[in-house]
Structure formats: C-alpha cells, structure tokens
Symmetry: C2
Subunit: 237 residues, 2 copies
C-alpha cells in the first residue's frame, strides 16, 4: 500500500461526500424559494410541499455525517485533510438548519393565510429570502472552489440581510401600534424575518468555513456577530 | 509503542478536554442565571457583566476545538473513540450557542430597563431560565457519566420549557392587545422567551449526544422536534 493510493482514495471519497453537500444545497435553495413564494402568494399547497421535502434534506445530512465519520475513521486524515473532512459535517449542519427555518416559514404560512394580510411585508420578506438563497448559492460555489474572496464577499452581503431585517422590525412595530388586528400576524411575520436573518448567519458560517480552509484562520474574530441586534436595540432606547 | 500506551494517552487527553467542557458548562450556567437575574431585577450592571463574561466562553470553545482536532489528528481514533472526540466539539458548540443567547438576554435587559415594565413576565422568564440551567447541569452530568437514562429524562423536561414558552407567548399577545405601550417591550421579552426555549433545544441536543454515545443511535428520529411551534401556531388558527 503506498501513500499515493491512500491520498487518492481519500480524495475520491471526499468528492462523493461533497456531491451530497451540493445536492443538499440545491434542495435547501429550493426550500427557501418555495417557502417564501408560498408566503407571498398565500399558497398553502406549496407550503405543505416544503414541509414534506424537508425529510430529504435531513436524510442527506445524516448521510454526509455517516460518510465523513467513515472517512476519518478509515483514512485517518491529518492536517488539512482532517480539517476538510470536519468541515463537510459543519456545512451539512448549517444546511440542515437553513432547511429547518424554511420549513418553519412554510408552517407559519399555513397559519397566516387565515389571518388579516399585512400588505408590503410579504414582498419584502420574499426579497430577503431571495437574497439569502443567492448568498447560499455563492457560498456553496466558494466552498467547492475554495474561493476565499467570494466567501469574504458573502460576509459583507450578510450585513444587507441584517439591514433588511431591521427595516422590517420597525415596520412590524408600526403596523401593530396602528391596529391590534395586526398584532398576531405581525408576530408570525416577525419570526419569519428573524429566521430568514438567521439563515443568513448560517450561510455566513459556511463562508467562514471556506476562509478557514483556505487561510487556516477564521476571519477576524472580532467581527461583531451580533451587530444585527444593534439597530433593533437602539430603536427602542 | 504498545496499544495500551496509545489508548491511555487518548483517554488522558480526552479527560483534559472534558475538563474544559465542564468549566465551560459552569460559566454558561452562571451566564443563564445572571442574565435572567439582571432581567428580573432590572440590573444593568449585572447585564453588562454577563456580556463581558461571554468572551471566556468563546475562548474555551476554541480551545476545545483545537485540542479535539489535535487528538483526532495525532491519535487517529476509530469507532467509539472517534465518536467521543467528535462529540466534545458538538457539545462545546451547543454550550457556546447557549452562552450567546444568555448574552443576548443581557443585551435586551439593558434596553428593557428604560421601558414600561411588564409585570409578571420577568418572573416567569426567570423561572424558565432557572429550569434550563438545571437541565443543563444534568445534561453535562449525564455527558460525563455517560448516563443515557438521565439524558432521556432531559428530553422529557424540554417539553415543559416549550409549554412555558407557549404560555408566555399568549401572555405577550394579551398585553400587546391591551395597551400599545406594551408592544415594544413585549417584542423584546418575546425574543428572550424564544431564545430561552432555544437554549433548551441546545441542552436537549447535548442529551441526544449522550444517548448516541451510549447506545450508538440517536433517540427516535421521529421525535417531533418542532412540537413547540404547535401550540403557538394553533393559537392563531
């Protein structure tokens, strides 16, 4: 058994796992788009479909974890290879969480269709979700191509998502104060906005993994991860 | 070099990492208690302290990750040992997230002290946080002692947390509908309640790790992880 043979087996198996990651990513992107579409169009059937499709995402995460575990156990990778093998588990975990948030958006849609519509908010939420889906697409491209520059760009774009969220938070407060009938639907819409912002955080976390894999260090540790709370908090000072 | 020697080095190093986990757990328990105490007593100084202390939790997580990485790279564990080495990273990740939620509770406390007090809610939130802290203590004991029975008990107790959250959700809606001055503080209190419920989910995730380590399988995959949304959703049907 020579070293070269071991190395290429590792690479071949890793490629297989990364193919699952890409498939998972595709399903999660679809879930984000469909969930936000069902919300915008008050489409219960589509919302139901998003909820059902989440099982396939969970199954793929399990598969990625099992195969990455076997890869580490059998090939005993060290240094960079081990880092890569661990990163697939993390990325799969991030994707699963984003899928969960999309499922939750679909669940809330099924409830919201029976309530007073809050005009404007659903379109803004759809734009925000669309932006997160595009970020996710780029984050996965950056991951596969080990493109740290593209990954850094995503960290910047996450700030836009945070701003969109803050604008929506203000809007919901205004609606609720104007008319108590808006209180319950706005609580749900607010959750959806917050969860979409959290999807952005998980996309950012994938981008951070890319930077870690390429440079060996996480991006600036002092990055204010909770900056997105700031506007929300100041608002109420 | 004989096998026995390798095994005991692994165990000694693992024990060292688990000591960090326990230290981290102690700090996170303290953060939960102090954050909820600062909320209840409208104590800005204590809230500020919780926010400052979060750095030590983050540093410990980094340390656990680094040492677990080295352990896997140098000792090439397989089967159960590898599972354990990976689990310390996951548990550290869960603890870090719980610490983040406690920090966020402290941040919101600093804002809430300047708003109309919402009577009753702060005490209920403190009880809920106290319950989560006790669950966390038991989850970490279960982890160190590999006690699957205690871990299963925690899965049950998480349902109580979900119920406490649902009761609070209803209460906040009522407050907001009664008087618009309650809308902004209730939005923050609602976040705190939701984040406390999410702390419970992370404690549950630690308990699930224990069950996985002991039995080799995760608890019933069909466990309705999002059951806690149900009451909240039905409420608004």
């Amino acid at each position: 058994m020579n070293d070269k043979h071991i190395v290429s087996s590792f690479d071949a198996e890793l490629e297989q796992i990364q193919a699952h990651i890409m498939k998972m990513g595709g399903l999660v992107e679809e879930a984000i788009l469909d969930a936000s579409k069902s919300l915008k169009n008050r489409d219960e059937e589509l919302a139901e479909q998003v909820r059902a499709n989440d099982k396939a995402i969970d199954a793929l995460e399990q598969r990625v974890n099992d195969e990455a575990f076997k890869l580490i156990a059998l090939r005993s990778p060290t240094a960079v290879d081990l880092r890569v093998a661990l990163s697939v588990m993390k990325v799969a975990g991030n994707l699963e969480r984003i899928g969960d948030y999309a499922k939750n958006m679909a669940k809330r849609t099924s409830v919201l269709v029976h309530m007073t519509p809050v005009e404007g908010a659903r379109s803004a939420l759809r734009r925000m979700a669309r932006e997160v889906q595009l970020m996710l697409k780029d984050a996965l491209d950056a991951y596969i191509q080990r493109d740290a520059e593209l990954a850094r760009d995503i960290l910047e774009r996450d700030r836009d998502i945070d701003q969109m969220y803050n604008a929506l938070f203000r809007e919901f407060l205004t609606f609720m104060m104007e008319d108590p009938r808006y209180i319950t639907p706005c609580m749900h819409l607010h959750f959806i906005a917050k969860n979409t912002e959290r999807m952005g955080d998980h996309v950012t976390s994938i981008a951070e993994q890319v930077i870690y894999l390429v440079t060996g260090a996480l991006p600036d540790e002092n990055r204010p991860r909770e900056d997105h709370y700031r506007a929300e908090l100041h608002l109420s000072d």
